[in-house]
Symmetry: C2
Subunit: 342 residues, 2 copies
DNA sequence: TACTGCGACGAAAACGTTTTCGTGTTGAAA
DNA sequence: TTTCAACACGAAAACGTTTTCGTCGCAGTA
């Protein structure tokens, strides 16, 4: 109900000037001890808090970073957020999360919104629609305007900014290699359509690992799921009567759908077919059988992204500009959806 | 690289005054057509976008609402966010998401941050630690300062603000009634500690439903889980050799832990024991057996919350102030973790 | 000619800060 | 007594907008 205390009101109340109040509160030696204490006591008593907006306008910086993610249901993204928050808070920054819902328009809108003063820079994982369109003008514009940008996970090559990614190829190879090691020889791949960079790269890793182990790549064993919504039916159809002993899925949802399909055919996981996923989420941990997965260390990705961004923010603009790409190692978490080594 | 176009720069460039530029861009009839077109063309060409911070400062409103949630891993909260975003965007508002990580301090920090100009109001679900402490001074302060506040899900009684909740008691009764209807007579409850309001209320519903059906409340059949981390072990211990034919768990994690424990004892779900959860998340849908749950309609909760908040924001302050509590109906989603009716 | 009215634009205040640069009052040194 | 620091404080600009209220010139009217 009280209309917020300002410097001006304090000044009026205590019959001093605004500048005196400001200086007193910031412990300037310019102000006499008596006045200073009086002002500070008053401010404390009435719980004065400086107006952030005014500060931002004055300083031309907001001490805030934005993170735009395509969807929030993926556990991976939530861990990234945690990582970003962690280091941002340590460095005195606040974090605003925005969702693009995988929509190009919403991504652009969010960026414009954040770029017009609300934040000092942002961290972004591209929306699926954006990658499909291949339209990155909004990124370039932001960069040109001097907004630092860090891309993570779903990135695109020729944009001049820092990037934090995992080695999808290596991760996929790790997964397929593990399947090979436990004896699988007929290994299927369930991936996403190719314009999602991770789908493409993980497919590449799958191929390479097959080759390295002397297996041949067989198109019949590869499914590229189009629609997330119908993925379950599509996967079930794909696996029907297929002679496989291992499945590598590029995310945990696909992996679970695969397990269900396999069980419905009367086969057992992992005895008859071993299944391995990507992204270590809640589902992977708690499903029965629990899933062997390639873990992405979302937390670390978030931390690195935030570190890169803040580093850039706090550098004097005269320093040389160059861009880094940080690759965060993947790990392999072995659980019960794959046979044990023989 | 270019230091952002401002009204002042446009004015200088075109040799008119700042006010003229501002008016021209807002299509004021005060400005002659020729000048107006010239200015608009220039602005468009150089992609002028007004500075949000300056606007916020001037208008004393940000057209932004904040939502603070305790944790992001619960699918329920993510659906609430979606709901909030949906109606907020429709009404021309932006949404900032902040996490309290269930920590009291972080909740207070987030609120102060958001209250100092960044947002016009917020939507909040209380952190566990806050409810445990019972310290709500930060809420009261915010309200006193004229920041509208909407609480959802984890609310507290005597705070003067709008609230959006589900009828936890009724939802719990629905669940237990369903167990009764399919023939269960020895029904266990797995709940949280009582200071989490939902735990308390759902326990109440459990009791009431037992009574209504002529069953007696038996403390031995009730577990209040203390630590989320060790919940699995705790639940397993609790169910050991316990003679039950139905389990009502107040969230999906507990429900799944219960199913695991039951299966480990060599019993079958749902043949020997029926299990029902609360909150309809990803896990419930995809677990095997899929979970029968009480669904909370997070999307609608988010929508209602945003609607309430914006309504309050756009009302002239002279109008009468009173507070609503909206109760969103729960639904029962019957899946495979409960027997079918006989 | 003198007044009125209007079209087209500019000056300035305001939002809440911080900060630079005064300015007036002391007390002490010369 | 004069001069000069030191001290304690205030005025004002600046950040980027919007908006109210001029002001100026000119055409139309009496």
């Amino acid at each position: 109900m009280k209309p917020k205390l300002t410097l001006k009101k304090i000044a009026k109340e205590l019959d001093v000037s605004i500048s005196t109040v400001s200086k007193a509160l910031r412990d300037s030696p310019e102000i006499g001890e008596e006045t200073r204490e009086k002002i500070k006591a008053f401010a404390k008593h009435y719980n004065y808090k400086p107006n952030n907006i005014a500060l931002s306008l004055k300083n031309r910086k907001t001490k805030t970073i934005g993170i735009i993610i395509p969807e929030i249901v993926h556990h991976f993204f939530t861990t990234v957020i945690s990582g970003v928050e962690k280091v941002a808070n340590e460095m005195g920054y606040n974090v605003f999360v925005c969702l693009s819902d995988n929509s190009f328009d919403k991504e652009v809108l969010n960026m414009e919104m954040l770029a017009n003063g609300s934040t000092d820079g942002f961290i972004l994982s591209l929306a699926k629609e954006t990658m499909q369109k291949g339209d990155y003008h909004h990124l370039i514009e932001a960069i040109n305007q001097g907004m630092p940008l860090v891309l993570f996970d779903r990135v695109v090559e020729n944009i001049a900014c820092d990037k934090v990614i995992i080695d999808d190829v290596a991760g996929a190879k790790k997964a397929v290699q593990h399947l090979y090691d436990i004896g699988c020889r007929k290994i299927a791949l369930i991936s996403t359509v190719d314009y999602v960079s991770v789908g493409k790269l993980r497919t590449k890793g799958y191929k390479e690992s097959l080759e390295e182990n002397g297996l041949v790549y067989n198109e019949d064993l590869v499914l590229k799921v189009e629609e997330m919504e119908d993925s379950e039916a599509e996967i079930s159809e794909f696996l029907k009567d297929k002679d496989v002993d291992g499945v590598f899925a590029v995310n945990e949802h696909f992996a679970i759908s695969a397990i269900k399909a396999i069980q419905e055919q009367g086969k057992k996981v992992p005895e008859d077919v071993s299944v391995i996923g990507f992204t270590d989420g809640e589902l992977s941990k708690r499903f029965i059988p629990s899933l062997t997965t390639v873990s992405q260390h979302g937390m670390r990705i978030g931390e690195e992204s935030a570190r890169l961004l803040i580093e850039k923010l706090e550098r004097t603009p005269t320093e040389e500009d160059y861009y880094k790409t940080i690759i965060v190692e993947t790990g392999l978490v072995v659980r019960n959806s794959t046979k044990s080594k023989k």
